[in-house]
């Protein structure tokens, strides 16, 4: 019997030695760029809420800069009311868009956008998008903040991560060096330069500021129910905590009748 025990102790040691390199629970992803720095986000944590002015500034950056190349097909103008625009502001924003329709005579026509219309897409199709971007496809940004690991930090890092390539890196044609993009060669020209937009609230439009703002906006766009979800979550947790205590007391009470459990 003791022999058998020794055998098991041996097996246990061997297994746990095998487990040491397992500390790296996250799959190794060497080819996928560097981990982005962790920034402060007011929407993080169980009590997190979005910073409204940042959301509105972020929308401005999206609309004035990114929207030239990137669609956000899952959003409609009416959604902007959730980030603090008034109904009239939303109507005005939507009306700047021209939407293709078929008129009463069956001819192609346009009408001003309505709040119920989806965001304007810059290109009619994928081929047109690639043709204008040196063959690279600017992806839809609606879900971008959830479609990348640590998405919100990644977005802020990506937009501020452009630099001259190191001497030993040979850049392909039409590619730009970016520290955080997997493989470091991205087909998107650095989209942000200082003072590219003029913020109405007087915030200085530095590149990190705009990157932070637009990342906040994209984080909301990907998860518009975040605040509602956390608010409800806190109530649910509180309710369950009380219910757990009550059922536990019930359990103790009932069990007193049969000692031992």
């Amino acid at each position: 019997m003791t022999k058998m025990r020794a055998l098991f102790a041996g097996a246990a040691v061997a297994l746990s030695l095998g487990a040491v390199p397992l500390a790296a629970l996250q799959p190794a992803r060497a080819a996928e760029g560097i981990a982005p720095p962790a920034l402060e986000w007011p929407q993080a944590g169980p009590f997190g809420v979005f910073d409204r002015p940042a959301l509105q500034r972020g929308y401005q950056v999206y609309k004035e800069v990114c929207a030239a190349c990137h669609s956000m097909r899952l959003l409609s103008y009416r959604n902007l009311q959730d980030i603090g625009f008034s109904e009239d502001q939303v109507k005005a924003i939507a009306a700047q868009d021209q939407v293709a329709v078929i008129d009463d005579n069956g001819d192609a026509a346009t009408r001003p956008g309505l709040p119920s219309d989806p965001f304007h897409s810059p290109f009619p199709n994928e081929n047109a998008a690639r043709a204008s971007n040196g063959g690279a496809l600017p992806p839809d940004l609606s879900l971008m903040a959830k479609a990348r690991k640590d998405g919100t930090n990644y977005l802020a890092a990506l937009l501020t991560g452009f630099s001259e390539p190191p001497a030993d890196v040979k850049m392909a044609d039409g590619k730009y060096y970016n520290e955080y993009f997997p493989g470091h060669q991205i087909g998107m020209p650095p989209p942000l330069t200082a003072d590219q937009v003029t913020y109405e609230d007087g915030t200085a439009a530095t590149v990190p500021q705009m990157a932070h703002d637009v990342a906040t906006f994209l984080s909301w766009a990907a998860e518009p129910k975040l605040e509602e979800r956390k608010r409800l979550g806190l109530k649910v947790m509180a309710f369950l905590a009380v219910l757990s205590v009550l059922t536990y007391l019930c359990y103790r009470r009932v069990r007193r009748r049969v000692q031992g459990h």
Binding site: P46, K149, R255, Q259, H261
Partner: protein
Amino acid sequence: MSGSTLPTNNKAIKWFDERLPLLSLLRDSLVIYPAPRNLNYWWSFGSLAGFMLVAQLVTGIMLAMHYTPHVTLAFTSVEHIMRDVNYGWLLRYAHANGASMFFIVVYIHIFRGLYYGSYKAPREVLWWLGVIILLLMMATAFMGYVLPWGQMSYWGATVITNLFSAIPKLGEAIVTLLWGGPSVANPTLNRFYSLHYLLPFVIVGVVILHLWALHTSKSNNPLGIDIKGEQDMIPFHPYYTVKDLFGICVFLMFYAYWVFFNPNGLGEPDNYIEANILVTPQHIVPEWYFLPFYAILRAIPSKLFGVLAMISAIIVLFFLPWLDRSKVRSARFRPVYRQAFWIFAVDCVILGVVGANPPEGHWVLIGRLATLYYFTHFLVIVPVISIFEKTLPLPDSIAKAVLGGPAKH
């Protein structure tokens, strides 16, 4: 089964119960079912599994009211649920995380059985039914994961269905049948949706059989000894109903943490990119609950034998009641088996980690050793221990062990 046993003075109820003893049946199985008096919290995971099955059914049926099973619309319809349907985000996150919760609960439930020897006579059929439920759950979850039609949905479906092509002769035909055409496409999505809707109800059926077998052979218990008489038992209600309710409340907090505060923590970011036939994701990883089996699949260099190994990893559980020849059930009285149990549990975790990592470098070796150990555990270690182990003396009865003497109850 049984006739009417309902103690009631209500004439209408009595009339009905004499013609169809449905209420008697429910009362027999949920109220007066005599359970061992010493069940610990690990026994709460059975009713938790039942709770999760119902939760998946309810959230799933409501999702189905808004979901569109077509390759051009599926992804957008899930986002429509997330954005426009009232509390759609809650339904969807509860269902997606619910699948993970269901597997956590069922895996613990299975390991409980392994530790306390619940698979041994007279519970072999009960154990088999459990393994069948596990297989059905895996099929259901796999097909459910395809429905949102993200990158992982599509590529996971492609990789896993392709495995069947390893089967000699019939392989290609089976794959075509699964796909409904020459590749994973709209017909695949449609049949997976149909089966994803169907299989949970098959699970409900097997769960009923599982409970029937349970109530025939009665619950095992932490001591692993048989119930010897009245003094060893307490009725299910209120003693275990209230305990299980408490367990469900605590478990719901764990579940709620994921749903409300970390809803994508168990998922892959790639599944928020719509399926694209032209772009293969860098790493195709299945959901966490499949990772140990995925590791076993990849540990074997041949596709056919990899598939066979993966399937055998579950099939071997069917034979466990005969591989383990020890008459003593509970690991409490089996000092050597107890250690083997924990090493096996660690081995499963290692397999899970291997499955999450690309099959390169040292992961290949670790994966192979852990796979080898997985089968060695069942086919060599457990049988050998069960023959040579010197078990500890068993208590005379449950009542004696927990009360120190025969109780009055």
